[in-house]
Amino acid sequence: MPATERVRLARLAEEAVAATKGVAASVGRTGVWATPDGGRTIPGVVAIALPQGRVEIALHVDAIWPPPPLTRVADTLRDRLVRSAQAAGLGDRLGPVAVSFHDVRAPGEGA
């Protein structure tokens, strides 16, 4: 079954987080910050369908020690996601992208 645009955008957001240095996805203590994608979940990404057919993406991440400049990392994440969404033909579907930093984590430490 083909994935919905919401899930496709969530996957692109997951890739953007993985490709950005200094951050790692965070699912939170109760594991609620995730998007179901078939048999798995996309960690640290909450994709919300908006009424106008757009999708709001909330990225939940931990900063990796030493903490990078947070606003610059947020810009990098957003730009990366916008570019990949446009390349996938989903640029007009991407709504606001919120970025929340939840913790500072040592390199290699799990979520």
Binding site: T71, R78, H102
Partner: protein, 198 residues
């Protein structure tokens, strides 16, 4: 081990609350009638085989049933218990939401950080300052708009003054404070004798 004890404490607390709720319900139901009727306190005491207690409290229960100051105080206490119960239910059931520090807010979406993340970064920067042995940082987000207040306590050696240390730490935190719109307050102090230093 601690997790198991926490679960046990939660379970016992829950059971005690259930018992308390059932006792309250019984007291409420058996207050519907007075005298020796079925739904009276006297009958409740009889059903629970507490006849001696009923004999002791009989006069007081009669005063409670009749109009008067005892009944008024009991009504007030009952209303207070109901309000307290509702408050406890709200406290137990309404989820808390941690206030995040808004770093930037625009139509592209919010950029926010949890207080702990910002506090850890600030403490680490403060500890990079010469003469600082350890630092603690507390962050409080602004109620409206971006940024917040950052309070840093830096423990340092006796050989330097509080002001010098505070100035050095403030300098270290300048970039972070500018980027996150934080109002910074730094306090230098010499740890107490025997005090722990991380």
């Amino acid at each position: 081990m601690v997790a198991a004890l926490r679960t046990l404490a939660g379970l016992i607390g829950f059971l005690l609350l259930v018992i308390l709720a059932l006792a309250g319900l019984a007291a409420a139901v058996f207050s519907l009638q007075g005298g020796e009727e079925t739904l009276s306190y006297h009958n409740l005491a009889h059903l629970l085989h507490l006849d001696d207690l009923d004999a002791e409290l009989g006069a007081w229960l009669s005063a409670l049933e009749a109009d008067g100051p005892t009944a008024a105080i009991a009504a007030l206490a009952g209303a207070g218990a109901v309000v307290l119960g509702i408050a406890l239910l709200v406290g137990a059931l309404v989820p808390t939401r941690e206030r995040l520090i808004i770093l930037r807010r625009d139509q592209r979406g919010d950029v926010a950080a949890r207080r702990r993340a910002v506090g850890q970064a600030a403490a680490a920067l403060a500890e990079q300052s010469r003469d600082v042995m350890s630092a603690k940082a507390k962050v409080r987000p602004r109620r409206r708009g971006a940024g917040g207040n950052l309070r840093v306590t830096a423990n340092h050696a006796r050989t330097v003054g509080n002001r010098e240390v505070a100035a050095a730490v403030r300098e270290r935190l300048d970039a972070l404070a500018d980027a996150l719109s934080l109002h910074v307050r730094v306090r230098g102090r010499v740890p107490r004798r025997g005090g722990r230093v991380r």
